[in-house]
């Protein structure tokens, strides 16, 4: 049985200017594998990720024909049941460590908060577990990082702290929203390797949200390409170069390549019928 199945997911916002549909009929299933969701800003990829955890606030509404996680109906689960799922069963790494870590709480306290409140561990045990988690994401001096404030960490460090925090309860599903876009290429490669090892060793399911098509193709098993709230194409990552949809091809072609021709980069042609509402 698949870990997560979503049928006809729609996310709508009722605003003063009328109804805005951020996600319009997205369906997919996920096993214990790496699924990539790619698209430009505003394509609905982050909203799709947040919907899985029901983390969309009013006026936003989530509707779907089906949204099941490991046999649990996410549409009918109570808030209390959702709280029990978020963290231990499914977790999300947010985009920007600058805005997603609590700026007035030391890293150590943020990491141990869940352990102490949820798992009722003592201070010493919680600290030990938190340090192990930091080591698991290749932080070399975890003792110092535990005592640091979020603003004292670099982007790469902050991102790793967030990944460590999400992995402490050992979730079955990790949703990573642009986990590496704030990072340098060399650090990016390290973080991806960490995520990859975790999928392999813990048998975790991973949804990897990014705007970088090439990165996703390299890293994931399957890729959903989103445009204006819809999935326009689903491809096996290995066959990405053979993708047929003009939007996917456009996204691939508009990136510069080392040693590529010096002529203007092809811009995305949105004149096709696929680009219309």
């Amino acid at each position: 049985m698949s870990l997560l199945s979503v049928k006809n997911l729609r996310v709508t916002f009722d605003t003063e200017a009328g109804r805005v549909e951020a996600v319009r009929g997205v369906s997919f299933t996920l096993g214990r594998e790496r699924l990539g969701i790619v698209g430009e800003s505003g394509s609905g990829k982050t909203m799709t990720g947040r919907s899985m955890l029901r983390l969309i606030r009013p006026p936003g509404r989530i509707e779907a024909d089906e949204m099941r996680f490991d046999g649990i109906d996410l549409l009918r689960a109570s808030e209390r049941e959702m709280r029990a799922l978020r963290g231990p069963r499914m977790a999300m790494v947010m985009q920007d460590p600058k805005y997603s870590l609590n700026p007035v709480m030391k890293v150590g306290r943020q990491l141990t908060e869940g352990l102490r409140l949820r798992d009722r561990l003592g201070a010493g045990d919680a600290r030990k577990k938190a340090i192990e988690a930091l080591q698991a994401v290749q932080i070399r001096d975890p003792e110092r990082v535990m005592e640091a404030w979020p603003h004292e960490l670099s982007g790469g460090m902050g991102q790793r702290v967030m990944i460590a925090m999400m992995l402490i309860p050992n979730p079955d599903l990790l949703i990573a929203d642009e986990p590496t876009s704030a990072l340098d290429v060399t650090v990016q490669a390290e973080v991806l390797k960490i995520l990859d090892d975790l999928v392999k060793t813990r048998g975790m399911g991973l949804i990897f949200i990014s705007h970088d098509l090439r990165l996703v193709a390299r890293f994931c098993d399957r890729v959903l390409v989103m445009y204006k709230g819809r999935v326009v194409e689903e491809v096996q990552a290995g066959n990405l170069m053979a993708a047929r949809h003009p939007y996917t091809r456009g996204l691939l072609n508009c990136l510069p390549r080392i040693g590529g021709p010096r002529e203007p980069l092809p811009s995305l042609d949105r004149s096709g019928t696929w680009a219309e509402a």
Partner: protein, 253 residues
């Protein structure tokens, strides 16, 4: 003679109990109409070099000359008429409470350039923005449109040199392509000289004739474009950066 000459530039910051050496003994020369790239990971000092040229970071050692003249402190009007900078984040580099019109006409007012109205409209046209954007505020624009405004602002005084600090790293892939094309077109039309910073080797390769790889505040290796494309780098760090580059990943897959 090179247009930008940097000799043994050092930038040190006093951080209370210790001194942070952000840039150490970096030398480079950029010829007129050349496009020169600085690449490296964050903290390698590449942006600090641009900021030191503009006077936003202190020059602790070495010299910077523009067109053979050493820089003055403060930089003065003559400098800003020749050298302008485009910043990384179009969300924070435009004044949130100034209209586009005010942002674009301010440099003209400071330098006493007349004919403001026509120049602002022309500047918007040059960066392929509709003149109706003129009376909007930055929050009413998308990221790509804002970066176009930032480029238009930098070009208001018709400088020779543009210092580009990660001009597309906050943008989507498709918008990045449009912005890079715009920069290349403007450089060809106006004979501009670029000194551009990026952490993306593919972007630097697309835009620049030569590139300097930096690490921990020091210059590691200078590469011509052909050498980069053919992977003829001699230092291991430059090779690491090359191998980790996103577009290499796809080839390796």
């Amino acid at each position: 003679m090179a247009l930008i000459e940097i000799d043994n530039l050092s930038v040190h910051f006093d951080a209370g109990d210790r001194i942070v050496k952000a840039v150490q003994d970096v030398s480079l020369q950029v010829a007129a109409r050349e496009s020169y790239g600085l690449v490296g990971e964050s903290g390698s000092g590449k942006s600090t070099i641009l900021r030191a040229i503009c006077g936003l970071a202190p020059i602790s050692g070495g010299t910077v000359r523009i067109g053979g003249e050493p820089l003055k402190t403060p930089r003065g009007k003559g400098f800003s008429a020749r050298v302008q900078m485009v910043f990384q984040d179009p969300y924070s580099s435009l004044h949130p409470r100034h209209t586009i019109d005010r942002t674009l006409s301010e440099p003209l007012a400071i330098h006493g350039v007349g004919n403001t109205d026509a120049r602002v409209v022309q500047a918007l046209r040059d960066v392929a923005l509709d003149p109706t954007f003129r009376f909007r505020f930055p929050h009413q624009l998308s990221g790509g449109q804002r970066q176009r405004v930032a480029i238009a602002r930098a070009l208001m005084l018709q400088p020779e040199i543009l210092l580009l600090d990660e001009p597309t790293s906050a943008l989507d892939a498709s918008v990045q392509a449009e912005t890079l094309n715009l920069l290349n077109r403007l450089r060809a039309e106006r004979g501009l000289t670029f000194l551009m910073v990026s952490h993306d080797l593919a972007v630097i390769d697309h835009m620049c004739d030569r590139v300097l790889v930096m690490q921990h505040g020091r210059a590691v290796e200078e590469l011509a474009r052909d050498d980069l494309a053919a992977a003829r780098m001699t230092t291991s760090y430059a090779r690491t950066l090359f191998d980790a580059s996103a577009d290499r990943m796809l080839d390796g897959a």
